[in-house]
């Protein structure tokens, strides 16, 4: 039974094999394998994909079926150089030994990127000395499963990006891994510290590191840690800490961007990162005095903030250009005596991404509009009922503006219609 397609000819099948395998590499592997029954020509094309992407959603009904499927694909994979292997099993507990053998197979196929998010697993030794790996992403599932045990010294000569969550003996395991990566550029480390004895996490001797993301999770009764940062080439720092660890900045001269999400922040740390150009802060406890941030151009407040605190920051950022606030809260605030310097000379855009239209917010807007002399654009995203919108928009538009060229944009409330987000803009 062979017939020409009804409406046209088949251009897809005529494409060169390289192009076909490139296309098939861009989809989850289960769909790529499915093309094998399209026609004779398509029978073996899936075997040459360079990206293997397995998940456990539909239509796999059991872990055994899933397991066999992956086995078969790995067996038949004919690509000499695997670009990536991704295993995302969020609900099926595939056997540890299977996962280990698949990772091992990938290593043998000179894999470059590995992304393992599974429930239970064991890492094969070959992974720790893989010469071709450039990107590694693993979450050890928050079980004391001895995933990271590696008797031999770790040697990953090409690894540039490491994104791991280490819940089991983090001090030894995480640092052991990091030490084995001579050209590491981007590190994302999530640890939960349980009964660890170590008090100091010292990040030094990683000269190539440009990006660092640290998430320290809270476990009760843990000892306060000290995290020491001595990374001369670090450009981007993200700190997320619910433990109240003390962060000590020894040397971060190249830092350009920092993002802080820690309830306990200390003055010393802020001084240490005061050279940044861009700062994102989540809410934290009050600090009476802030250091000056001479280079900041972008300032972003996530979560909710008191207007008074926002202004305190504005006073410390003389060169601020772009201000972003998620949500303003609090009661009446006292107008400062002096208008912050940046508002007079450099502040050009203000964004409020979750404005509820309450009194304190309107007061804040009123203050900003009245005093910011070089303001160009104010963008407000409403989180209000649609009936309120018109009134509030009108109210804001009426507020006197110090800057002649200031535009105000409104992004509509999502309560507007059932179908979703309404986006309308009133330019004035």
């Amino acid at each position: 039974m062979s017939s020409i397609g009804e409406n046209g000819d088949d251009r897809l099948s005529g494409l060169p094999e390289d192009t076909i395998s490139h296309i098939l590499s861009l989809m989850p592997t289960k769909y790529a394998v499915r093309t094998s029954i399209l026609s004779k020509r398509w029978r073996y094309s899936w075997m040459f994909v360079t990206n293997l992407d397995f998940d456990d959603i539909h239509p796999f009904h059991s872990k055994i079926v899933l397991s066999k499927f992956v086995d078969r694909v790995m067996e038949n994979c004919k690509s000499p150089q695997l670009r990536s292997l991704r295993l995302h099993f969020s609900s099926k507990r595939v056997k540890r030994a299977s996962i280990s053998s698949w990772i091992d197979k990938a290593v043998r196929l000179n894999v470059s990127e590995l992304d393992i998010q599974v429930l239970i697993f064991k890492l094969p030794l070959s992974l720790f000395t893989c010469k071709t790996l450039t990107k590694l992403r693993i979450d050890d599932g928050n079980l004391n499963s001895r995933v990271w045990e590696c008797p031999c010294p770790v040697n990953l000569p090409c690894l540039k990006t490491l994104d791991i969550a280490v819940h089991d003996n983090p001090f030894v395991n995480a640092f052991g891994l990091i030490r084995g990566c001579p050209i590491l550029e981007s590190l994302s480390l999530e640890v939960s510290i349980d009964k660890e004895e170590e008090r100091y996490y010292i990040f030094n001797n990683i000269p190539t590191l440009k990006r660092l993301k640290l998430i320290l999770e809270r476990v009760f009764f843990s000892v306060t840690k000290q995290v020491v940062l001595n990374l001369p080439n670090l450009e981007y720092l993200f700190v997320g800490d619910s433990l109240g660890s003390v962060f000590v900045v020894e040397d971060l001269p190249s830092l350009v961007e920092a993002s802080v999400s820690s309830y306990h922040m200390c003055l010393e740390f802020l001084k240490g990162i005061s050279g940044v150009k861009s700062l994102t802060i989540d809410t934290f406890t009050f600090i009476p005095a802030l250091p000056i941030f001479p280079n900041i151009k972008h300032l972003r407040f996530t979560s909710f903030w008191y207007s008074g605190r926002v202004l305190q920051f504005l006073e410390s950022c003389p060169e601020l250009k772009h201000l972003c606030i998620e949500e303003l809260t609090g009661e009446h605030w006292i107008e400062p005596n002096l208008v912050p310097a940046c508002m007079l000379t450099t502040l050009t855009t203000i964004k409020i991404s979750s404005c509820k239209g309450r009194e304190p917010e309107i007061e804040f807007l009123e203050y900003m509009l009245r005093n910011a002399k070089v303001l160009r654009a104010v963008t407000i995203s409403w989180e209000i009922y649609q009936i309120e919108e018109k009134r509030l928009c009108a109210k804001v538009l009426e507020l006197p503006r110090a800057s002649r060229y200031c535009d105000i944009h409104f992004i509509g409330s999502r309560y507007h219609s059932a179908s979703g987000y309404l986006d309308f803009e009133i330019h004035v």
Partner: protein, 301 residues
């Protein structure tokens, strides 16, 4: 004074294109710089065969937009999203032509669009979108599942397949259209669970299941075109000598005179001599059909 480059497509058509737009393509860039081609009509750059005038127009539109330096990422993304809204065949031509001109970003963009059209669809849907002719034989599509049948659903499915195979053999001569329709449903289930054995045609290895006489008997029956029980014994011995490993999950059978491949482990064999009374058999059949229908509606989403 704008400078132009002369390009010639495979059909002989020569056109004039602004230099900065054409130079966005690495292949054209190389021709101009290293071989000094394209400066006049007589020295037009000969474009690869896969670049037809229609596709060239599209590609040049893409280049014209993206070669402008000042555009934001958002603008570029928006343009790309609109640009890629083409029908299947145009996309194929585009990826082919962009590849021959070495325009990597466009190749990636187009490949992603094609991948989206394939990903998540059933084989029927894909064939329809891309006008792929279906040249696999019915038998080839009906490969039983090569997995351990712990899953009761899979067991039922295998039973269904066995029935279908039997029906197919019975109707081979009459060429019933009904069979085809039933097959259509089967195919979408096959989609995911059938695997191509890479050395299939010549496969000789036979792995026996853990001693289940019933299965051996069934294997022998299947080896022959007709369920001829007399042949049982000689083939049985053959099977023994060929057995290589005792993998309890998977069996392979040599493909001999029949075009059907019987691969798969079915623990409870089916219709030949079940010893079930007809009424029960019928109920079982209905159950299996019904199950397959349900499975299809879930899987062929």
């Amino acid at each position: 004074m704008k400078s132009f480059v002369w390009l010639e497509t495979a059909d002989g058509l020569i056109q004039q294109v602004e230099e900065e737009v054409a130079m966005f393509c690495p292949m054209i860039c190389r021709e101009v710089i290293h071989k000094s081609m394209g400066s006049s009509k007589n020295h037009a750059i000969k474009l690869p065969e896969r670049v037809t005038p229609a596709v060239l127009g599209l590609i040049l539109d893409y280049c014209r937009f993206h070669q402008v330096a000042g555009r934001s990422n958002k603008e570029r993304k928006t343009f790309d999203e609109k640009f890629i809204r083409l029908d299947a065949n145009k996309l194929c031509d585009l990826v082919s032509a962009a590849d021959s001109l070495q325009l990597r970003p466009l190749v990636d963009l187009t490949s992603c669009a094609i991948a989206r059209m394939i990903s998540g669809k059933t084989a029927e849907e894909i064939r329809e979108t891309f006008h792929i002719a279906d040249d696999l034989t019915e038998e080839e599509k009906l490969e039983p599942i090569k997995i351990k049948t712990d899953d009761s659903r899979v067991r039922l499915l295998n039973r269904l397949y066995a029935r279908k195979r039997k029906q197919l053999k019975a109707r081979e001569k009459s060429k019933d259209v009904e069979v085809e329709e039933e097959r259509v449903e089967d195919r979408s289930v096959d989609d995911l669970l059938s695997f191509i054995n890479s050395g299939d045609e010549d496969s000789k290895g036979v792995k026996l299941a853990k001693n289940k006489k019933k299965n051996r008997r069934k294997k022998n029956l299947r080896k022959d075109p007709s369920p001829n029980i007399e042949n049982k014994n000689p083939s049985y011995k053959e099977m023994d000598s060929l057995s290589s490993s005792h993998n309890s999950e998977i069996e392979d059978l040599p493909n001999q005179s029949i075009s059907l491949k019987f691969l798969g482990y079915v623990s409870t064999e089916s219709d030949f001599d079940d010893g079930l009374d007809p009424a029960l058999k019928e109920q079982l059949d209905r159950e299996v059909e019904d199950f397959a229908q349900r499975l299809n509606s879930v899987w062929s989403k």
